[in-house]
Symmetry: C2
Subunit: 195 residues, 2 copies
DNA sequence: TCAAGTCTACCAAGTACTAGGTAGACTCGG
DNA sequence: CCGAGTCTACCTAGTACTTGGTAGACTTGA
């Protein structure tokens, strides 16, 4: 495969940067790490992304965009339950690679990231919450979920639990963690309370 | 107040280090930050803690110990629900200060911490899970919680959700997040399913 | 006197970032 | 078609600064 150049190299940097950020942490990876990975000098990376904050913000923006695209694919699934299961799979995939959600990592290093990055992270979580709220609402309307739920509360819970489980899975290193936590919540959502 | 010295200074460093680690991140705070905070030169901090890993590990160990002591206090509360509510309050207190759970932060920066620190973090989460499992078991036995539960699964869920909520609370900056997520789970635990 | 604690003064290595330049591809008037 | 100018992409070689960590001298209380 030919060494990429120009805009292709720019993309390469974004992809490698995302991987490094998810495995090492947003504040932990350096232009030197990136340089080694993509095969150009760190000074040349500065040609594409003048400041690290620019790079990180664009990585976050790209991440949000890709995640959004995957959510839109999931929307084609026939049931709300299947859509949520697909959502769980997105997190499980991340854990399998030993990674963290990019924005979870950014949230943990909140004081070390710039304002423009923070805005992207906020937007990411807002989108996630909105999407989950929507899926749960529709699932309630269709009868897949029990009727007493508060969609945005359940969405918050699901998101928090998955982000937390991603964190814990690393420590206890087995990826089943995320799936188990998710399944537990799904059971709660689909079970009718009696009192 | 007189400037502490000797072992008192050592404790001072541990306390300040914990605060910095929780607000900035374990890998983000430096001996320089610590120096400014406790009023001695960074070289003098090295006298007490030769390597940063030594310091961070001891901070984590202390954190785990203090947390354990608080759990033992909570055990004196009359009901399992009240014990869990106390547990929630521990997390809410952290969020109010704009901090992260120390071990949550460490988990997020997993690749940047040393092995001895990792062991402390693992032990912390194991203890949390064990305590929660225990409380939920007893709550089931006493009839406070519904009978179909799997205590260790619920414990995992609760811990993951609280850690995740702590993360998200920072981004969306309002501390109510943790309480809402917790209350949602508590409702699930105390509601009898009908099918 | 002695040892614990703190200091000043370093260091090597790493950080993000910059200055200045080169090779090659593209543009465009004559 | 040609040459001058321009642009992109990358380079070498640095800047200024921070990092954790070390060596050795000074201070001070017991």
């Amino acid at each position: 495969m030919a060494k990429p150049t120009g805009r292709a190299m720019r993309d390469e940097i974004l992809i490698a940067g995302q991987e490094l950020a998810q495995s090492m942490g947003v504040a932990e990876f350096s232009y030197a790490d990136l340089s080694e990975r993509v095969g150009i000098r760190s000074a040349s990376i500065h040609h594409h992304f003048a400041k690290k904050e620019d790079l990180v913000t664009e990585i976050a923006s790209r991440y949000r965009g890709n995640f959004g695209a995957q959510l839109r694919e999931l929307e084609e699934r026939p049931s709300s339950v299947e859509q949520l299961e697909g959502y769980r799979d997105l997190f499980e995939e991340t854990v399998t690679k030993g990674d963290l959600c990019l924005c979870g990592s950014a949230a943990a290093e909140w004081s070390a990231i710039g304002d423009s990055t923070k805005d992207e992270v906020k937007a990411f979580f807002a989108e996630q919450t909105r999407w989950l709220t929507d899926v749960i609402s529709k699932g309630m309307a269709s009868g897949e979920f029990s009727s007493g739920l508060n969609p945005s509360e359940e969405a918050n819970l699901l998101l928090a639990a998955l982000e937390g489980a991603t964190l814990l899975a690393r420590v206890e290193n087995h990826g089943a963690h995320v799936g188990r936590v998710f399944d537990r919540i799904l059971t709660f959502l689909t079970t009718q309370p009696s009192k």
